[in-house]
Amino acid sequence: MQGSRFFFPKSLFFFIAALFIPLAITNDYHLRVVNMVVLYSIVALSINLIVGFSGQLDFGRSAFVGVGAYWSAIMMQRFGFPFLPAFLSAGMICALVGAGLGLLCRKSSFDYLTLITIGFNEMCRLIFLNWQSVTNGAMGLRKVPPPVIFGYVFDTNVRYFYLSLILLSLCYVSIRRITESKLGRAFQAIRDDPIAAAYSGISVPDYKVLNFAVGSFFTGIAGSAMVHYTQYASPYNYTLDESIYILQMVILGGLGSLPGSILGTSLLVIVPEISRTFYEYRLASVGLLMVFMMIWAPNGILGRQGVGEKVIGLARFLPVRRKVSQEKGKLP
């Protein structure tokens, strides 16, 4: 695809730059925060695929992170599976569950979908909390083993950084390619006008299910990667508030913009660490952010006609070449 040739240098540049991060950030705690940014970015990308590209407002993504996490942890801890099978199977299970949920919702309207996903999140949380024998209930799963790939143990922040970075890159490229393909176009068509989409040959309910399944796969593997990092799975981590928070990361970055998801995630993971006020008044801060954004910047920072583009528009006054409409109609 024409876009790819321009795409590689930009993202490749970021990737290579990112490789040097552990050298620049030596504080262990800071590196841990960075790792969480990377891992949450994968979840954010999956949310973008579902909410941003297909317009399905899912308020229950955190449940899938949890499913992936618990599954993977239990596979390794209790059944002695090696990491890669546990990890990949977590993704597959989430894809299946996602497909199931998608099947339930496929003929539902917007509102139902949102409500059902909230219900699903609640159901999962309650199961995580109460199914003592499997999930260890409120205590959660502790001492979840770190990943071991071909004998190499990923149990330090630095090692995990590189693992996560590679994982993020693979997910990013995959999702990007999906959005640029017939699949991505179908998803967006469903978002913009389901009736016209049907007239263009798209079986809307089927594609909604597919969208859920594919998105959930990525959410699941992110959940797995997270739990082997934090080495702890708790039902208090997979709540509705979590789902909304991660969703907000995607909205901040710009629905429909993949780099935006990474940017939004970075901001909403790092800022609470830096700003004491933000952290203490978390609810109000996020709440105010949401309201202000919806009124003044609904497209987020890097979304089409978002804050970023407006700022660049102002930069017209500087001798800098203005970014022309994205190559060949591909999203940023």
Binding site: I178, S181, K182, A197, A198, S200
Partner: protein
């Protein structure tokens, strides 16, 4: 010319409202059929029912000899029927070229593997689809706005994009619902020429129109609907002079030069 689309005894009742009553019509391959009638005559309902968007209360629809009554809408594309809408339905957040490429959805065969791994088979197929879409956009004079967000375009161009999208699936039958709505006379004339050009490409065309100049100018035959019933059918000249048609538009009056809106 053989019969491409056959509508037999179509009834559509919404509770007590009779939107379509015993409508019969034929569309032959290669012809342009105009559908006219006062507002509320059931023209768009006709399109909705024969495309499967609404099930008929009674009656059948045949396409190329096969019955397609009540088939789900998404099958239409594969069958070879394309449609535009009275109120433009574009994919507003997508670029013009992406809008058109969506129309090719049923023809592209891809797999998740091909997409994520950028396999050669997938890439060459996308490339072909891309050039085909560009050709159609060229044909419609839209080559300069290919990467523009479709919702940013002026109204007339949006209409053209909708037509381009419908054309991209190589339809044998094209249904246009009031394509000249909102156009000035100049644009309407261009549209007439365009529809003429489209016919040369292949598809039969059924046009719902209010603009008499356009519909009389391009149609081979015209069907007139009023209160859900077909009240007249014939060539443009025949229809223009039929009293019941004049009456439908203007009410019971002596004579007038031509049916008006």
């Amino acid at each position: 010319m053989s019969v491409l689309l056959k509508v037999e005894g179509l009834d559509k009742f919404f509770g007590g409202v009779k939107a379509l009553v015993r409508v019969d019509l034929d569309v032959k391959t290669d012809e342009i059929l105009g559908v006219i009638g006062p507002n509320g005559a059931g023209k768009t309902t006709l399109f909705n029912v024969l495309t499967g968007f609404e099930p008929p209360t009674r009656g059948s629809v045949f396409f190329n000899g096969h019955e397609i009554t009540g088939r789900p809408v998404y099958r239409l594309c594969q069958l070879g029927i394309g449609r535009t809408f009275q109120n433009i339905r574009l994919f507003g957040q997508m670029s013009v070229i992406d809008n058109v490429m969506v129309g090719m959805h049923s023809e592209l065969k891809t797999s998740l593997l091909g997409i994520t791994l950028h396999l050669r088979s997938h890439m060459s197929m996308e490339k072909d689809a891309y050039s085909k879409a560009m050709k159609i956009l060229d044909f419609l004079g839209l080559h300069e706005v290919v990467t523009e967000l479709s919702s940013n375009l002026p109204y007339g161009m949006q209409r053209k994009v909708e037509i381009a999208r419908a054309l991209s699936s190589n339809p044998k039958l094209l249904l246009l619902d009031e394509p000249s709505a909102g156009m000035n006379p100049q644009e309407a004339l261009e549209l007439m020429a365009l529809i003429g050009e489209i016919r040369k490409l292949g598809p039969a065309v059924v046009v719902i129109e209010h603009n008499m100049q356009v519909v009389m100018g391009i149609s081979d035959r015209i069907v007139v609907l009023n209160f859900g019933e077909k009240i007249c059918e014939g060539t443009p000249e025949q229809v223009q002079n039929t009293p019941c048609v004049i009456e439908a538009y203007l009410g019971k009056e002596e004579e007038s030069d031509a049916p008006g809106n």
